[in-house]
């Protein structure tokens, strides 16, 4: 048992180090600006006095290293500074939206994960039949389409032409849970389409890989019925790859969510990031990037830890 704990802790430590390096990257990338933030915000036309005043106000006269640690310390406690444009605290701008984004991602995941694993296993068992080939073409098409293409098709057919769902996912605090699900159905469905295709293909590959191993062949040769081969021999060994697939695809949701939020005007953190980028509101951009990167690393970490825990060979390394 101690071995597993050590292995997991080691992996966790590596994750923290990666996150630390990324925070350095995110902070000092902004330092690369020609001139500095104050100059970039005020533009070329600003007088030297106003630039100097803003520099003082933002604490830019201190060395970058010092400011980095102040920023990092703030970020750890949830304080990301003040927006350059609105003057609002970044943390208040982000907190509600972060919950919304998390809700959307979870909504999509709850639908996508069971569907794609079941379909992936079915396709793997029916491999090289016509059904498998059709599924291959369909999933490939879904992966290859940009998220906004799928989103607008859904809007066109399910919102504009038939009026089943609202085209714009506006939220308010006094909505019932059922209405919330109805309102956010189209953005969630868009994410589901993309992620399901990815997950199905990866599950299929993992299962096929597994079915090719010698012990499955052995079981078949000694006359074990087909369903028993799957349940008794294949499934216990399939958990590791499946957990991996799920975690990796949830990480993929993170990127997909940005485009989907913009298409459906969904009040989430992705939309906030895109707005901040076009307005060059750096504190918000930095905060959003850090949050996205941290979630991404966390999910990848979960994938690693999950596969360590479900794989006895990794659990007892030589």
């Amino acid at each position: 048992m101690g071995d597993i704990l050590q292995l997991v802790l080691k992996r966790l430590g590596l994750g923290v180090v990666t996150l630390f390096v990324i925070s350095i990257l995110i902070f000092f990338a902004v330092e690369l600006l020609p001139g500095d933030i104050a100059q970039a915000v005020l533009g070329q036309a600003a007088t030297p006095e106003t630039v100097a005043a803003l520099r003082e106000k933002m604490g830019l006269d201190q060395p970058a290293i010092l400011r980095y640690f102040q920023w990092l310390g703030g970020a750890v406690t949830g304080d990301f500074g003040v927006s350059l444009i609105s003057g609002e605290r970044v943390s208040t701008a982000i907190s509600d939206r972060f919950v919304n984004t998390l809700f959307l991602a979870c909504y999509a995941a709850v639908i996508a994960v069971p569907i794609s694993i079941i379909l992936g296993v079915i396709v793997a068992l029916l491999r090289n039949t016509l059904f498998d080939r059709v599924a291959n073409v369909v999933t490939l098409t879904s992966i290859s389409s940009p998220e906004f293409f799928l989103g607008y098709i859904l809007i066109l057919y399910l919102a504009v032409k038939t009026n089943y769902f609202p085209a714009i996912a506006s939220l308010s605090s006094d909505m019932s849970f059922g209405e919330l699900l109805h309102r956010t159905f189209l953005p969630a469905l868009t994410l589901v389409l993309v992620v399901t295709a990815h997950m199905m293909r990866m599950t299929r590959a993992a299962i096929i890989n597994l079915l090719a191993s010698p012990y499955i062949e052995m079981a078949r040769l000694k006359g074990v019925p087909a369903w028993k081969v799957i349940v008794k021999h294949a499934l216990p060994n399939a958990w590791a790859p499946i957990i991996n697939v799920v975690a990796l695809n949830l990480a993929y949701l993170i990127t997909g969510v940005v485009l989907v939020e913009v298409v459906f005007v969904y009040p989430g953190i992705g939309q906030l990031l895109v707005d901040a980028v076009s307005k060059r509101d750096f504190p918000i951009v930095q905060a959003c990037c850090l949050i996205f990167a941290a979630t991404f690393i966390l999910l990848n970490l979960a994938a690693d830890v999950g596969s360590i825990l479900t794989n006895p060979r990794l659990r007892h390394p030589k």
Partner: protein, 354 residues
């Protein structure tokens, strides 16, 4: 029950009987399940649903026919060795090659094909299609069709450029890391780890917010984001080649690193690298489309598929399909490249399944 519905079912049932008679099990299953699905959709959606299925099946058959003809055409004009390989290509791969070929023609000869210039305002905003304008006008009164043709040149060209840069940088670093090893290998490996642990779209947004959205910045940033993937693959592939005896022999002969890379390692690792180039292109293309859609990619008035979708999105709320055509163009090219890559991977490597 009009004659269309009767003909529709007669055809399907007749075809499934034929397939069953000639013992074509899979074709029979396909046609018969289509018949059953038609029963259900016919009851729910009525005649329009059946018409939709007919049109979709017709389009599919057309695509299959075109790809078959294109494959035969390629087999005839290609030299012997290549023709033999082409014979093994599935129809999907032939379809992919056909689509890539069409896009290449559209991109290269854009000024000849397009009836108007890409920034030329010729009518009122959102004017409907007429005999001059095949697809109507966009939000500023420019010809939509011409802009889509020019988009093939701008969007695909930019994606190709970025992919090529990412590929050259990544492959070179990977080959050097594999041959040299040591601290260089370690350092590049860790750097690649860090870049790959940030989601690509997020990283691109961060960089573009800092350096602005000029074309040079976009190309360099995207190359930076995607070169680690190429680096890893090249390093892995070249790592398998480096331990071969003939490399040892070449080293003992006193050949330099550059000679080893160029003459010994590269020729023995091209197949997976070419497939990777295709995959990489798809990722880059989708990322650029996404950035343009967010208004952070290619800047107006240059025609670009991603931003065209965004600019004309209001038309969608009136039930118009035209804004989706550029998006469909993006999807079609990505699918086509994926089809070809699938075939190449299957042919060249261990993706042969049980």
């Amino acid at each position: 029950m009009n004659s269309f519905v009767i003909g529709y079912y007669a055809l399907l049932i007749g075809a499934s009987c034929l397939a069953a008679y000639f013992k074509q099990r899979q074709i029979f299953l396909l046609i018969f399940s289509l018949t059953l699905i038609s029963f259900v959709t016919g009851i729910i959606g009525g005649v329009p649903a059946l018409r939709f299925i007919t049109i979709a099946a017709g389009l599919l058959a057309l695509a299959a026919g075109v790809s078959y003809a294109f494959r035969e055409f390629l087999i005839i004009i290609a030299p012997d060795g290549v023709a033999k390989e082409l014979r093994t290509a599935p129809l999907t791969a032939a379809f992919g090659m056909f689509v890539i070929f069409t896009y290449a023609i559209a991109g290269i000869f854009a000024p000849v094909i397009a009836p108007f210039g890409e920034a030329e305002v010729i009518s009122s905003a959102f004017a409907p299609a007429d005999e001059n304008m095949l697809l109507g006008a966009d939000q500023l009164g420019r010809d939509m069709f011409s802009r889509i043709i020019y988009g093939a040149r701008n969007t695909v060209g930019l994606a190709l450029l970025a992919t090529a840069l990412a590929f050259i940088a990544g492959a070179l670093a990977g080959l050097l890391a594999a041959t040299k090893g040591g601290w260089f290998d370690q350092f590049m490996g860790r750097a690649a780890d860090v870049i790959m642990s940030i989601p690509s779209l997020i990283f691109a947004l961060l960089m573009l917010s800092i350096f602005g959205t000029s074309l040079v910045v976009i190309v360099v940033v995207i190359a930076l984001i995607y070169s680690p993937r190429v680096f890893r693959l090249t390093r892995a592939v070249a790592g398998n080649v480096v331990v071969m005896d003939y490399i040892e022999a070449a080293k003992l002969r006193g050949e330099g690193t550059w000679y080893l890379i160029r003459k010994e390692i590269l020729p023995n690792s091209t197949a997976p690298l070419i497939a990777e180039f295709g995959l990489e292109f798809c990722f880059v293309f989708l990322l650029i489309a996404g950035l343009s859609f967010l208004g952070l990619g290619i800047q107006p008035p240059t025609a670009d598929w991603g931003s065209m979708v965004r600019e004309n999105a209001t038309l969608i709320s009136f039930g118009e399909l035209t804004p989706l055509i550029p998006a469909a163009a993006i999807a079609l090219l990505t699918v086509a490249v994926n089809f070809v890559v699938d075939w190449m991977l299957f042919r060249s490597s261990g993706l042969k399944e049980v």
